[in-house]
Protein backbone atom coordinates (compact mmCIF):
# COMPACT_ATOMS: atom_id res chain seq x y z
CA UNK A 1 0.00 0.00 0.00
CA UNK A 2 1.39 3.39 -0.96
CA UNK A 3 2.20 5.79 1.84
CA UNK A 4 -0.49 8.22 0.65
CA UNK A 5 -3.17 5.51 0.75
CA UNK A 6 -1.99 4.37 4.17
CA UNK A 7 -2.19 7.94 5.50
CA UNK A 8 -5.73 8.26 4.16
CA UNK A 9 -6.71 4.93 5.70
CA UNK A 10 -5.13 5.91 9.03
CA UNK A 11 -7.09 9.17 9.01
CA UNK A 12 -10.38 7.36 8.31
CA UNK A 13 -9.67 4.76 11.01
CA UNK A 14 -8.76 7.48 13.52
CA UNK A 15 -11.97 9.37 12.76
CA UNK A 16 -14.12 6.25 13.07
CA UNK A 17 -12.46 5.36 16.37
CA UNK A 18 -13.09 8.89 17.61
CA UNK A 19 -16.78 8.69 16.62
CA UNK A 20 -17.61 5.13 17.58
CA UNK A 21 -14.96 4.14 20.11
CA UNK A 22 -11.56 2.44 19.82
CA UNK A 23 -13.12 -1.05 19.49
CA UNK A 24 -15.35 -0.09 16.55
CA UNK A 25 -12.60 -0.58 13.99
CA UNK A 26 -9.06 -1.82 14.42
CA UNK A 27 -6.23 -3.53 12.60
CA UNK A 28 -5.98 -7.27 12.61
CA UNK A 29 -3.34 -8.58 14.99
CA UNK A 30 -2.73 -7.96 18.67
CA UNK A 31 -5.49 -5.81 20.12
CA UNK A 32 -4.22 -3.15 22.49
CA UNK A 33 -7.80 -2.41 23.62
CA UNK A 34 -8.66 -6.03 24.36
CA UNK A 35 -10.65 -6.53 27.53
CA UNK A 36 -8.80 -8.18 30.36
CA UNK A 37 -10.86 -11.23 31.27
CA UNK A 38 -10.10 -13.30 34.37
CA UNK A 39 -9.75 -17.04 33.87
CA UNK A 40 -10.40 -20.11 35.93
CA UNK A 41 -8.26 -23.05 34.78
CA UNK A 42 -9.90 -26.33 33.81
CA UNK A 43 -6.80 -28.19 35.18
CA UNK A 44 -6.35 -29.87 31.79
CA UNK A 45 -3.11 -28.25 30.65
CA UNK A 46 -3.63 -28.58 26.88
CA UNK A 47 -7.17 -27.29 27.07
CA UNK A 48 -6.16 -24.35 29.28
CA UNK A 49 -3.45 -23.42 26.80
CA UNK A 50 -5.93 -23.55 23.94
CA UNK A 51 -8.44 -21.43 25.88
CA UNK A 52 -5.87 -18.84 26.85
CA UNK A 53 -5.74 -19.78 30.54
CA UNK A 54 -9.09 -21.40 31.28
CA UNK A 55 -12.77 -20.56 31.23
CA UNK A 56 -13.48 -16.81 31.27
CA UNK A 57 -14.97 -15.15 34.35
CA UNK A 58 -17.95 -12.88 33.82
CA UNK A 59 -18.80 -14.84 30.67
CA UNK A 60 -20.95 -17.76 29.65
CA UNK A 61 -19.37 -21.04 28.54
CA UNK A 62 -21.27 -23.91 26.95
CA UNK A 63 -19.90 -27.42 27.24
CA UNK A 64 -21.79 -29.77 25.01
CA UNK A 65 -21.39 -33.49 24.70
CA UNK A 66 -23.12 -36.85 25.00
CA UNK A 67 -23.25 -38.92 28.18
CA UNK A 68 -19.85 -40.01 29.55
CA UNK A 69 -17.95 -37.58 27.39
CA UNK A 70 -16.38 -35.66 30.29
CA UNK A 71 -18.36 -32.43 30.34
CA UNK A 72 -19.52 -32.83 33.94
CA UNK A 73 -15.99 -33.71 35.03
CA UNK A 74 -14.65 -30.69 33.18
CA UNK A 75 -17.14 -28.40 34.97
CA UNK A 76 -16.36 -30.05 38.32
CA UNK A 77 -12.63 -29.52 37.80
CA UNK A 78 -13.25 -25.83 37.08
CA UNK A 79 -15.04 -25.53 40.44
CA UNK A 80 -12.23 -27.40 42.20
CA UNK A 81 -9.67 -25.04 40.64
CA UNK A 82 -11.69 -22.02 41.83
CA UNK A 83 -11.87 -23.52 45.34
CA UNK A 84 -8.13 -24.17 45.38
CA UNK A 85 -7.30 -20.67 44.17
CA UNK A 86 -9.48 -18.87 46.73
CA UNK A 87 -10.38 -20.24 50.14
CA UNK A 88 -13.58 -18.16 50.18
CA UNK A 89 -14.75 -18.94 46.65
CA UNK A 90 -18.31 -20.24 46.41
CA UNK A 91 -19.86 -22.20 43.59
CA UNK A 92 -23.36 -23.30 42.66
CA UNK A 93 -24.56 -26.34 40.74
CA UNK A 94 -28.01 -26.01 39.23
CA UNK A 95 -28.98 -29.67 39.09
CA UNK A 96 -32.02 -29.77 36.87
CA UNK A 97 -31.78 -33.47 36.20
CA UNK A 98 -31.21 -34.28 39.91
CA UNK A 99 -28.26 -36.49 39.12
CA UNK A 100 -25.63 -34.58 41.08
CA UNK A 101 -23.46 -37.05 42.96
CA UNK A 102 -21.68 -35.56 46.02
CA UNK A 103 -19.25 -38.46 46.16
CA UNK A 104 -18.07 -37.88 42.59
CA UNK A 105 -17.86 -34.11 43.09
CA UNK A 106 -15.76 -34.68 46.21
CA UNK A 107 -13.47 -36.98 44.23
CA UNK A 108 -13.09 -34.21 41.66
CA UNK A 109 -11.63 -32.00 44.41
CA UNK A 110 -14.61 -29.75 45.12
CA UNK A 111 -14.93 -28.40 48.66
CA UNK A 112 -18.51 -29.49 49.30
CA UNK A 113 -19.00 -26.95 52.10
CA UNK A 114 -18.57 -24.23 49.49
CA UNK A 115 -20.85 -25.73 46.86
CA UNK A 116 -24.53 -24.84 46.73
CA UNK A 117 -26.64 -27.44 44.96
CA UNK A 118 -29.86 -26.04 43.53
CA UNK A 119 -32.57 -28.57 42.71
CA UNK A 120 -35.41 -26.58 41.19
CA UNK A 121 -38.83 -28.01 40.41
CA UNK A 122 -38.87 -26.88 36.79
CA UNK A 123 -36.72 -25.38 34.09
CA UNK A 124 -38.48 -22.03 34.55
CA UNK A 125 -37.56 -22.02 38.26
CA UNK A 126 -34.00 -23.04 37.41
CA UNK A 127 -33.68 -20.12 35.02
CA UNK A 128 -35.09 -17.62 37.53
CA UNK A 129 -32.81 -18.89 40.32
CA UNK A 130 -29.79 -18.71 38.00
CA UNK A 131 -30.44 -15.06 37.21
CA UNK A 132 -30.76 -14.20 40.91
CA UNK A 133 -27.60 -16.11 41.82
CA UNK A 134 -25.62 -14.40 39.07
CA UNK A 135 -26.96 -11.03 40.13
CA UNK A 136 -25.80 -11.60 43.71
CA UNK A 137 -22.19 -11.66 42.44
CA UNK A 138 -21.31 -14.05 45.26
CA UNK A 139 -20.23 -17.01 43.14
CA UNK A 140 -16.94 -17.83 41.47
CA UNK A 141 -18.48 -20.55 39.28
CA UNK A 142 -22.07 -21.42 38.43
CA UNK A 143 -22.75 -24.68 36.62
CA UNK A 144 -26.14 -25.11 34.99
CA UNK A 145 -26.65 -28.76 34.17
CA UNK A 146 -29.45 -28.91 31.65
CA UNK A 147 -28.21 -32.23 30.30
CA UNK A 148 -30.74 -34.95 30.92
CA UNK A 149 -33.54 -32.49 31.67
CA UNK A 150 -36.97 -33.58 30.60
CA UNK A 151 -37.14 -32.81 26.87
CA UNK A 152 -40.81 -31.81 27.07
CA UNK A 153 -40.02 -29.46 29.92
CA UNK A 154 -37.20 -27.89 27.92
CA UNK A 155 -39.39 -27.42 24.84
CA UNK A 156 -42.21 -25.91 26.93
CA UNK A 157 -39.87 -23.35 28.47
CA UNK A 158 -37.87 -22.59 25.33
CA UNK A 159 -39.15 -19.01 25.07
CA UNK A 160 -38.40 -18.38 28.73
CA UNK A 161 -34.94 -19.87 28.34
CA UNK A 162 -34.21 -17.72 25.30
CA UNK A 163 -35.29 -14.61 27.20
CA UNK A 164 -33.11 -15.50 30.17
CA UNK A 165 -30.12 -16.31 27.98
CA UNK A 166 -30.48 -12.96 26.25
CA UNK A 167 -30.18 -11.21 29.62
CA UNK A 168 -27.53 -13.41 31.15
CA UNK A 169 -24.39 -12.14 29.31
CA UNK A 170 -25.09 -8.57 30.38
CA UNK A 171 -25.72 -9.61 33.99
CA UNK A 172 -22.58 -11.74 33.98
CA UNK A 173 -20.39 -9.00 32.57
CA UNK A 174 -20.65 -7.07 35.83
CA UNK A 175 -19.58 -10.04 37.95
CA UNK A 176 -16.62 -12.37 38.44
CA UNK A 177 -18.76 -15.47 37.97
CA UNK A 178 -17.82 -18.02 35.33
CA UNK A 179 -21.14 -19.50 34.17
CA UNK A 180 -20.90 -22.98 32.65
CA UNK A 181 -23.88 -24.54 30.88
CA UNK A 182 -23.77 -28.26 30.23
CA UNK A 183 -25.93 -29.17 27.27
CA UNK A 184 -26.98 -32.14 25.21
CA UNK A 185 -25.99 -32.00 21.52
CA UNK A 186 -29.28 -33.77 20.71
CA UNK A 187 -31.24 -30.82 22.20
CA UNK A 188 -29.27 -27.83 20.91
CA UNK A 189 -30.24 -24.33 22.01
CA UNK A 190 -29.50 -21.61 19.42
CA UNK A 191 -29.95 -18.96 22.11
CA UNK A 192 -27.33 -20.63 24.31
CA UNK A 193 -24.95 -20.96 21.39
CA UNK A 194 -25.38 -17.26 20.65
CA UNK A 195 -25.02 -16.08 24.25
CA UNK A 196 -21.96 -18.20 25.05
CA UNK A 197 -18.59 -16.52 24.81
CA UNK A 198 -16.90 -19.91 24.69
CA UNK A 199 -18.36 -23.16 23.36
CA UNK A 200 -16.63 -26.47 23.87
CA UNK A 201 -17.82 -29.63 22.20
CA UNK A 202 -16.55 -32.75 23.91
CA UNK A 203 -16.85 -36.40 22.95
CA UNK A 204 -15.33 -39.61 24.27
CA UNK A 205 -12.69 -41.11 21.96
CA UNK A 206 -11.59 -44.26 23.74
CA UNK A 207 -11.49 -45.99 27.08
CA UNK A 208 -8.13 -46.16 28.84
CA UNK A 209 -7.63 -49.69 30.02
CA UNK A 210 -5.13 -51.37 32.28
CA UNK A 211 -5.31 -55.10 31.85
CA UNK A 212 -9.04 -55.78 31.80
CA UNK A 213 -9.97 -52.77 33.98
CA UNK A 214 -11.27 -49.44 32.76
CA UNK A 215 -8.96 -46.80 34.31
CA UNK A 216 -10.36 -43.78 32.57
CA UNK A 217 -11.07 -42.41 29.16
CA UNK A 218 -9.73 -40.04 26.58
CA UNK A 219 -12.01 -37.36 25.19
CA UNK A 220 -11.61 -34.92 22.36
CA UNK A 221 -12.50 -31.34 23.26
CA UNK A 222 -13.02 -28.93 20.40
CA UNK A 223 -13.28 -25.19 21.03
CA UNK A 224 -16.10 -24.40 18.66
CA UNK A 225 -16.37 -20.72 19.58
CA UNK A 226 -14.10 -18.39 21.51
CA UNK A 227 -14.73 -14.66 21.70
CA UNK A 228 -11.51 -14.12 23.64
CA UNK A 229 -9.08 -16.26 21.70
CA UNK A 230 -8.70 -18.77 18.95
CA UNK A 231 -11.50 -21.13 18.01
CA UNK A 232 -11.34 -24.39 16.10
CA UNK A 233 -8.62 -25.91 18.29
CA UNK A 234 -8.94 -29.60 19.21
CA UNK A 235 -7.22 -31.09 22.22
CA UNK A 236 -7.28 -34.49 23.86
CA UNK A 237 -8.15 -34.65 27.56
CA UNK A 238 -7.45 -37.68 29.71
CA UNK A 239 -9.77 -38.38 32.61
CA UNK A 240 -8.35 -41.01 34.93
CA UNK A 241 -10.28 -42.66 37.76
CA UNK A 242 -7.86 -43.50 40.51
CA UNK A 243 -9.73 -42.98 43.75
CA UNK A 244 -9.68 -39.31 42.87
CA UNK A 245 -10.60 -38.00 39.47
CA UNK A 246 -7.54 -36.47 37.94
CA UNK A 247 -7.08 -34.03 35.12
CA UNK A 248 -3.71 -33.78 33.42
CA UNK A 249 -2.38 -31.16 35.81
CA UNK A 250 -3.83 -32.16 39.20
Amino acid sequence: MSSQRRRKLDAVVAQLQLDYGPRAIRRAGPDEHAEVVGRIPTTFAELDRALGGGLPQGRLTEISGPATSGKLTLAAKVISAAHRADGDALAAWVDLSRTCDPDYLDRCGIALDRLLVVRPASLADALAVTLHLVRSNALAVLVFDRFGANANQVRAAVAEEDGMLARLPQLLSGTATAAVFLSDPREPSPALAHAAAVRISISRERWIMRDADVRGYQSLAEIVKNRHGHAGVRVAVHIIFNGTVRGDGL
Binding site: D88, D103, L112, L115, L116, L133, N137, A138, L139
Partner: protein, 395 residues
Protein backbone atom coordinates in the same frame (compact mmCIF):
# COMPACT_ATOMS: atom_id res chain seq x y z
CA UNK B 1 -58.28 19.50 28.28
CA UNK B 2 -59.90 21.31 31.20
CA UNK B 3 -58.62 21.79 34.67
CA UNK B 4 -59.76 19.66 37.56
CA UNK B 5 -57.87 19.02 40.77
CA UNK B 6 -54.57 17.35 39.95
CA UNK B 7 -51.10 17.28 41.39
CA UNK B 8 -48.16 18.20 39.23
CA UNK B 9 -44.63 17.01 39.88
CA UNK B 10 -41.91 19.21 38.44
CA UNK B 11 -38.35 17.95 38.27
CA UNK B 12 -35.19 19.56 36.94
CA UNK B 13 -33.29 16.62 35.45
CA UNK B 14 -29.83 16.18 37.01
CA UNK B 15 -30.30 19.40 38.97
CA UNK B 16 -27.13 19.38 41.08
CA UNK B 17 -24.90 17.79 38.44
CA UNK B 18 -26.00 20.29 35.78
CA UNK B 19 -25.13 23.23 38.04
CA UNK B 20 -21.73 21.75 38.85
CA UNK B 21 -21.00 21.07 35.18
CA UNK B 22 -21.98 24.59 34.28
CA UNK B 23 -19.46 26.00 36.75
CA UNK B 24 -16.79 23.46 35.82
CA UNK B 25 -17.21 22.22 32.20
CA UNK B 26 -14.39 19.67 32.66
CA UNK B 27 -16.88 17.58 34.69
CA UNK B 28 -19.01 16.91 31.60
CA UNK B 29 -18.86 13.36 30.26
CA UNK B 30 -17.56 11.83 33.50
CA UNK B 31 -19.50 10.09 36.28
CA UNK B 32 -20.06 12.83 38.84
CA UNK B 33 -21.31 12.73 42.43
CA UNK B 34 -21.72 15.73 44.72
CA UNK B 35 -21.09 15.23 48.43
CA UNK B 36 -22.43 17.00 51.50
CA UNK B 37 -20.20 18.05 54.38
CA UNK B 38 -20.52 14.57 55.96
CA UNK B 39 -19.33 12.78 52.82
CA UNK B 40 -22.73 11.56 51.64
CA UNK B 41 -23.84 11.73 48.03
CA UNK B 42 -26.62 14.27 47.49
CA UNK B 43 -26.68 14.56 43.69
CA UNK B 44 -25.41 12.51 40.75
CA UNK B 45 -25.32 12.79 36.99
CA UNK B 46 -26.74 10.19 34.65
CA UNK B 47 -23.40 8.37 34.19
CA UNK B 48 -22.96 7.96 37.94
CA UNK B 49 -26.58 6.88 38.32
CA UNK B 50 -26.06 4.20 35.68
CA UNK B 51 -23.10 2.91 37.67
CA UNK B 52 -25.38 2.42 40.68
CA UNK B 53 -24.52 5.55 42.64
CA UNK B 54 -27.53 7.09 44.35
CA UNK B 55 -28.16 9.95 46.78
CA UNK B 56 -27.68 8.89 50.38
CA UNK B 57 -24.71 6.62 49.73
CA UNK B 58 -21.36 7.31 51.36
CA UNK B 59 -18.28 8.41 49.47
CA UNK B 60 -16.79 4.93 49.99
CA UNK B 61 -19.88 3.22 48.56
CA UNK B 62 -19.87 5.54 45.54
CA UNK B 63 -16.21 4.78 44.77
CA UNK B 64 -16.86 1.04 45.18
CA UNK B 65 -19.60 1.23 42.54
CA UNK B 66 -17.69 3.39 40.06
CA UNK B 67 -13.95 3.69 40.80
CA UNK B 68 -13.62 6.42 38.18
CA UNK B 69 -16.33 8.63 39.68
CA UNK B 70 -15.50 12.31 40.19
CA UNK B 71 -16.44 13.44 43.69
CA UNK B 72 -16.93 17.12 44.47
CA UNK B 73 -18.22 18.94 47.56
CA UNK B 74 -21.68 20.31 46.79
CA UNK B 75 -21.12 23.58 48.64
CA UNK B 76 -18.65 24.60 45.92
CA UNK B 77 -21.60 25.17 43.56
CA UNK B 78 -24.65 27.46 43.81
CA UNK B 79 -27.10 24.62 44.45
CA UNK B 80 -29.06 26.06 47.37
CA UNK B 81 -29.35 29.49 45.70
CA UNK B 82 -30.66 27.95 42.48
CA UNK B 83 -33.06 25.74 44.46
CA UNK B 84 -34.46 28.87 46.17
CA UNK B 85 -34.78 30.59 42.80
CA UNK B 86 -36.59 27.59 41.34
CA UNK B 87 -39.04 27.43 44.25
CA UNK B 88 -39.71 31.18 43.92
CA UNK B 89 -40.60 30.63 40.26
CA UNK B 90 -42.72 27.57 41.07
CA UNK B 91 -44.70 29.52 43.68
CA UNK B 92 -46.08 31.77 40.91
CA UNK B 93 -47.88 28.82 39.30
CA UNK B 94 -50.00 27.43 42.11
CA UNK B 95 -51.42 28.45 45.45
CA UNK B 96 -50.15 25.28 47.06
CA UNK B 97 -46.69 23.94 46.29
CA UNK B 98 -44.21 21.81 48.18
CA UNK B 99 -40.51 21.21 47.63
CA UNK B 100 -39.78 17.53 46.95
CA UNK B 101 -36.02 17.44 47.21
CA UNK B 102 -33.32 19.16 45.16
CA UNK B 103 -34.72 20.56 41.92
CA UNK B 104 -38.24 19.18 42.26
CA UNK B 105 -41.59 20.23 43.65
CA UNK B 106 -45.25 19.23 43.88
CA UNK B 107 -47.94 21.71 42.85
CA UNK B 108 -51.67 21.50 43.54
CA UNK B 109 -53.66 22.60 40.48
CA UNK B 110 -56.83 23.41 42.42
CA UNK B 111 -58.34 26.64 41.17
CA UNK B 112 -56.18 26.79 38.07
CA UNK B 113 -58.25 27.32 34.95
CA UNK B 114 -57.43 26.77 31.29
CA UNK B 115 -55.50 24.15 29.44
CA UNK B 116 -53.40 21.97 31.73
CA UNK B 117 -50.96 21.01 28.97
CA UNK B 118 -50.12 24.68 28.34
CA UNK B 119 -49.82 25.19 32.10
CA UNK B 120 -47.36 22.27 32.34
CA UNK B 121 -45.39 23.60 29.39
CA UNK B 122 -45.14 27.02 31.03
CA UNK B 123 -44.05 25.35 34.28
CA UNK B 124 -41.35 23.42 32.44
CA UNK B 125 -40.31 26.69 30.80
CA UNK B 126 -39.33 28.05 34.23
CA UNK B 127 -36.81 25.22 34.61
CA UNK B 128 -35.54 25.83 31.09
CA UNK B 129 -35.13 29.49 32.08
CA UNK B 130 -32.62 28.32 34.68
CA UNK B 131 -30.70 26.46 31.99
CA UNK B 132 -31.90 22.99 32.94
CA UNK B 133 -34.05 20.29 31.39
CA UNK B 134 -37.51 19.83 32.97
CA UNK B 135 -39.74 16.80 33.33
CA UNK B 136 -43.34 17.22 34.44
CA UNK B 137 -45.87 14.65 35.61
CA UNK B 138 -49.53 15.47 36.20
CA UNK B 139 -51.83 12.97 37.90
CA UNK B 140 -54.66 12.68 40.41
CA UNK B 141 -52.27 11.68 43.25
CA UNK B 142 -48.85 12.67 44.47
CA UNK B 143 -47.33 9.21 43.98
CA UNK B 144 -48.61 8.85 40.45
CA UNK B 145 -47.49 12.40 39.60
CA UNK B 146 -43.97 11.64 40.87
CA UNK B 147 -43.82 8.39 38.88
CA UNK B 148 -45.12 10.20 35.78
CA UNK B 149 -42.49 12.89 36.27
CA UNK B 150 -39.72 10.29 36.58
CA UNK B 151 -40.97 8.34 33.56
CA UNK B 152 -41.52 11.45 31.46
CA UNK B 153 -37.77 11.87 31.03
CA UNK B 154 -37.45 15.27 29.47
CA UNK B 155 -41.11 15.64 28.57
CA UNK B 156 -44.56 16.08 30.07
CA UNK B 157 -46.66 13.09 31.14
CA UNK B 158 -50.35 13.62 31.82
CA UNK B 159 -52.35 10.95 33.64
CA UNK B 160 -55.82 12.43 33.74
CA UNK B 161 -58.21 9.88 35.29
CA UNK B 162 -58.10 7.24 37.98
CA UNK B 163 -58.58 4.56 35.31
CA UNK B 164 -55.64 5.74 33.24
CA UNK B 165 -53.70 6.13 36.47
CA UNK B 166 -54.09 2.41 37.20
CA UNK B 167 -53.20 1.49 33.63
CA UNK B 168 -50.20 3.81 33.74
CA UNK B 169 -48.83 2.53 37.06
CA UNK B 170 -49.31 -1.20 36.36
CA UNK B 171 -46.26 -1.80 34.11
CA UNK B 172 -43.89 0.56 35.95
CA UNK B 173 -40.87 -1.01 37.71
CA UNK B 174 -40.94 -1.57 41.48
CA UNK B 175 -37.73 0.45 41.78
CA UNK B 176 -39.98 3.51 41.81
CA UNK B 177 -41.46 2.55 45.19
CA UNK B 178 -40.13 4.67 48.06
CA UNK B 179 -39.11 1.56 50.03
CA UNK B 180 -35.62 0.86 51.28
CA UNK B 181 -33.13 -1.11 49.18
CA UNK B 182 -33.53 -4.28 51.24
CA UNK B 183 -37.30 -4.33 50.67
CA UNK B 184 -36.87 -3.71 46.94
CA UNK B 185 -34.31 -6.49 46.70
CA UNK B 186 -36.66 -8.79 48.58
CA UNK B 187 -39.42 -7.97 46.08
CA UNK B 188 -37.07 -8.69 43.18
CA UNK B 189 -36.24 -12.07 44.67
CA UNK B 190 -39.92 -12.84 45.01
CA UNK B 191 -40.35 -12.13 41.31
CA UNK B 192 -42.34 -8.92 41.86
CA UNK B 193 -41.10 -6.61 39.14
CA UNK B 194 -43.91 -4.16 38.43
CA UNK B 195 -46.13 -1.87 40.46
CA UNK B 196 -49.15 -3.75 39.08
CA UNK B 197 -47.88 -7.01 40.58
CA UNK B 198 -47.25 -5.27 43.89
CA UNK B 199 -50.73 -3.77 43.91
CA UNK B 200 -52.28 -7.24 43.55
CA UNK B 201 -50.46 -8.80 46.52
CA UNK B 202 -52.59 -9.75 49.54
CA UNK B 203 -52.56 -6.74 51.93
CA UNK B 204 -52.06 -8.94 55.00
CA UNK B 205 -49.04 -10.58 53.37
CA UNK B 206 -47.55 -7.21 52.45
CA UNK B 207 -48.07 -5.99 56.01
CA UNK B 208 -46.50 -9.12 57.47
CA UNK B 209 -43.47 -9.06 55.18
CA UNK B 210 -42.79 -5.36 54.62
CA UNK B 211 -44.51 -3.76 57.62
CA UNK B 212 -46.58 -0.57 57.63
CA UNK B 213 -44.29 1.19 55.05
CA UNK B 214 -44.96 -1.62 52.57
CA UNK B 215 -48.70 -1.41 53.12
CA UNK B 216 -48.65 2.39 52.73
CA UNK B 217 -46.75 2.03 49.45
CA UNK B 218 -49.26 -0.57 48.27
CA UNK B 219 -52.15 1.81 48.97
CA UNK B 220 -50.41 4.48 46.89
CA UNK B 221 -49.86 2.05 44.03
CA UNK B 222 -53.55 1.15 44.17
CA UNK B 223 -54.37 4.84 43.68
CA UNK B 224 -55.31 5.49 47.31
CA UNK B 225 -52.85 8.28 48.00
CA UNK B 226 -54.61 11.20 49.68
CA UNK B 227 -51.55 13.13 50.78
CA UNK B 228 -52.11 16.86 50.32
CA UNK B 229 -49.58 19.32 48.96
CA UNK B 230 -48.33 21.24 52.00
CA UNK B 231 -46.75 24.65 51.80
CA UNK B 232 -43.26 24.99 53.35
CA UNK B 233 -44.73 27.01 56.24
CA UNK B 234 -47.27 24.30 56.98
CA UNK B 235 -44.81 21.43 57.00
CA UNK B 236 -45.59 19.29 60.04
CA UNK B 237 -43.10 18.58 62.76
CA UNK B 238 -42.95 16.06 65.53
CA UNK B 239 -41.50 16.81 68.92
CA UNK B 240 -40.97 15.24 72.28
CA UNK B 241 -40.31 16.94 75.61
CA UNK B 242 -38.31 15.36 78.41
CA UNK B 243 -38.40 16.72 81.94
CA UNK B 244 -36.02 15.30 84.50
CA UNK B 245 -36.49 15.14 88.25
CA UNK B 246 -33.16 16.82 88.77
CA UNK B 247 -30.39 18.05 86.49
CA UNK B 248 -28.96 15.28 84.28
CA UNK B 249 -25.26 15.86 83.67
CA UNK B 250 -24.28 12.50 82.22
CA UNK B 251 -24.08 12.72 78.42
CA UNK B 252 -24.70 9.01 77.90
CA UNK B 253 -27.85 8.97 80.06
CA UNK B 254 -29.19 11.99 78.23
CA UNK B 255 -28.37 10.45 74.85
CA UNK B 256 -30.06 7.18 75.77
CA UNK B 257 -33.24 9.03 76.74
CA UNK B 258 -33.14 11.13 73.57
CA UNK B 259 -32.56 8.10 71.34
CA UNK B 260 -35.62 6.42 72.84
CA UNK B 261 -37.71 9.53 72.14
CA UNK B 262 -36.27 9.84 68.61
CA UNK B 263 -37.21 6.22 67.86
CA UNK B 264 -40.76 6.87 69.02
CA UNK B 265 -40.96 9.92 66.74
CA UNK B 266 -39.46 8.06 63.77
CA UNK B 267 -41.81 5.08 63.95
CA UNK B 268 -44.91 6.87 62.56
CA UNK B 269 -42.73 8.55 59.92
CA UNK B 270 -41.56 5.11 58.76
CA UNK B 271 -45.13 3.88 58.54
CA UNK B 272 -46.25 6.84 56.46
CA UNK B 273 -43.11 6.73 54.24
CA UNK B 274 -42.11 10.17 55.42
CA UNK B 275 -38.74 11.59 56.39
CA UNK B 276 -37.46 14.48 58.48
CA UNK B 277 -35.39 17.26 56.95
CA UNK B 278 -34.22 18.82 60.21
CA UNK B 279 -33.47 17.87 63.79
CA UNK B 280 -33.58 20.49 66.54
CA UNK B 281 -32.64 20.16 70.17
CA UNK B 282 -33.25 22.67 72.94
CA UNK B 283 -32.16 22.16 76.54
CA UNK B 284 -32.71 24.14 79.71
CA UNK B 285 -29.61 24.17 81.82
CA UNK B 286 -29.58 23.91 85.59
CA UNK B 287 -29.17 27.69 85.87
CA UNK B 288 -32.25 28.30 83.67
CA UNK B 289 -30.37 29.18 80.45
CA UNK B 290 -31.87 27.84 77.21
CA UNK B 291 -29.41 26.38 74.67
CA UNK B 292 -30.31 25.13 71.22
CA UNK B 293 -28.71 23.18 68.40
CA UNK B 294 -30.04 21.91 65.10
CA UNK B 295 -28.96 19.70 62.24
CA UNK B 296 -30.23 19.93 58.68
CA UNK B 297 -30.21 16.65 56.73
CA UNK B 298 -29.06 17.17 53.12
CA UNK B 299 -31.52 14.45 52.15
CA UNK B 300 -34.66 14.01 54.26
CA UNK B 301 -34.26 10.84 56.28
CA UNK B 302 -36.09 8.53 58.64
CA UNK B 303 -33.10 6.23 59.09
CA UNK B 304 -32.62 5.52 62.78
CA UNK B 305 -28.83 5.42 62.58
CA UNK B 306 -28.58 8.73 60.71
CA UNK B 307 -30.90 10.44 63.18
CA UNK B 308 -28.99 9.02 66.16
CA UNK B 309 -25.70 10.35 64.75
CA UNK B 310 -27.27 13.77 64.20
CA UNK B 311 -28.59 13.63 67.75
CA UNK B 312 -25.12 12.98 69.16
CA UNK B 313 -23.74 15.83 67.11
CA UNK B 314 -26.46 18.18 68.34
CA UNK B 315 -25.87 17.20 71.98
CA UNK B 316 -22.13 17.81 71.57
CA UNK B 317 -22.76 21.11 69.82
CA UNK B 318 -24.63 22.62 72.73
CA UNK B 319 -21.27 22.62 74.49
CA UNK B 320 -21.92 19.85 76.94
CA UNK B 321 -19.42 20.21 79.70
CA UNK B 322 -21.14 18.30 82.38
CA UNK B 323 -23.36 21.26 83.15
CA UNK B 324 -26.49 19.17 82.89
CA UNK B 325 -30.04 19.80 81.69
CA UNK B 326 -33.30 20.07 83.57
CA UNK B 327 -35.41 19.46 80.48
CA UNK B 328 -34.84 18.79 76.79
CA UNK B 329 -37.06 19.17 73.73
CA UNK B 330 -36.35 17.16 70.60
CA UNK B 331 -38.01 18.21 67.36
CA UNK B 332 -37.98 16.51 63.97
CA UNK B 333 -38.95 19.19 61.50
CA UNK B 334 -39.40 19.71 57.76
CA UNK B 335 -41.22 16.41 57.55
CA UNK B 336 -41.71 15.46 53.94
CA UNK B 337 -42.20 12.43 51.72
CA UNK B 338 -39.29 9.98 51.79
CA UNK B 339 -37.22 10.14 48.63
CA UNK B 340 -37.17 7.09 46.37
CA UNK B 341 -34.06 5.00 46.93
CA UNK B 342 -32.33 3.28 44.08
CA UNK B 343 -32.09 -0.47 44.13
CA UNK B 344 -28.46 -1.34 44.53
CA UNK B 345 -27.16 -4.88 44.22
CA UNK B 346 -23.55 -4.14 44.98
CA UNK B 347 -23.37 -4.06 48.74
CA UNK B 348 -19.89 -4.66 49.99
CA UNK B 349 -20.16 -7.83 52.07
CA UNK B 350 -18.52 -11.24 52.00
CA UNK B 351 -19.66 -13.63 49.24
CA UNK B 352 -21.04 -16.08 51.79
CA UNK B 353 -23.10 -13.38 53.55
CA UNK B 354 -24.38 -12.10 50.21
CA UNK B 355 -25.30 -15.60 49.09
CA UNK B 356 -26.96 -16.39 52.42
CA UNK B 357 -29.07 -13.21 52.16
CA UNK B 358 -30.01 -14.03 48.58
CA UNK B 359 -30.93 -17.61 49.44
CA UNK B 360 -32.98 -16.58 52.46
CA UNK B 361 -35.20 -14.62 50.10
CA UNK B 362 -35.18 -17.11 47.23
CA UNK B 363 -36.19 -19.86 49.65
CA UNK B 364 -39.44 -17.98 50.32
CA UNK B 365 -40.29 -18.25 46.64
CA UNK B 366 -38.87 -21.58 45.53
CA UNK B 367 -38.94 -23.50 48.81
CA UNK B 368 -36.03 -24.17 51.18
CA UNK B 369 -35.58 -27.71 49.84
CA UNK B 370 -34.46 -26.23 46.48
CA UNK B 371 -31.18 -25.01 47.98
CA UNK B 372 -28.97 -27.64 49.53
CA UNK B 373 -25.39 -28.40 50.27
CA UNK B 374 -23.89 -31.79 49.72
CA UNK B 375 -22.18 -33.72 52.49
CA UNK B 376 -20.39 -37.03 52.63
CA UNK B 377 -21.74 -39.29 55.34
CA UNK B 378 -20.39 -42.72 54.46
CA UNK B 379 -17.61 -42.44 51.92
CA UNK B 380 -16.63 -46.09 52.18
CA UNK B 381 -20.08 -47.42 51.39
CA UNK B 382 -20.05 -49.59 48.26
CA UNK B 383 -23.35 -48.05 47.11
CA UNK B 384 -22.59 -44.57 45.69
CA UNK B 385 -26.05 -43.20 46.55
CA UNK B 386 -25.42 -43.92 50.25
CA UNK B 387 -22.11 -42.10 50.38
CA UNK B 388 -23.56 -38.59 50.12
CA UNK B 389 -26.33 -36.69 51.85
CA UNK B 390 -27.88 -33.22 51.83
CA UNK B 391 -28.05 -30.44 54.36
CA UNK B 392 -29.28 -26.85 54.57
CA UNK B 393 -27.05 -24.08 53.23
CA UNK B 394 -24.93 -22.53 55.99
CA UNK B 395 -25.42 -25.36 58.52
Amino acid sequence: MNAARFIAYLNAVEFGATLAQRVDPSLVGRPLALLDDRGHVIAVDVLAARAGIAPGQTEHQAVARAPGVTLRPADRYPILETQAELMARVARYAGRWQPAGLGSAYLDTEGIGGDMLSWCQALGGEVRGLGMVPSVGLAPTKFCAAVAGEVAGENIMLVMTTVTQRAFLTPQPIGLLPLDAAALLHLAHLGIRTLGQYACLPPAGVLARFGPPGRTAQRWVQGRDNRPVTLPGEVPQASAHLEFDGVVADREILLAALRREADALLHPLHSRLQAAGRLALSATRGDGRLVTASHVFPLPTAATRTVHLALEEAVDRIAWRGEGAADVTLTLGDITDAPVQQLSLLDITSPRATLAATLAQLAARFGPETFRMAALVDQGNPLPERRGSWREFGD
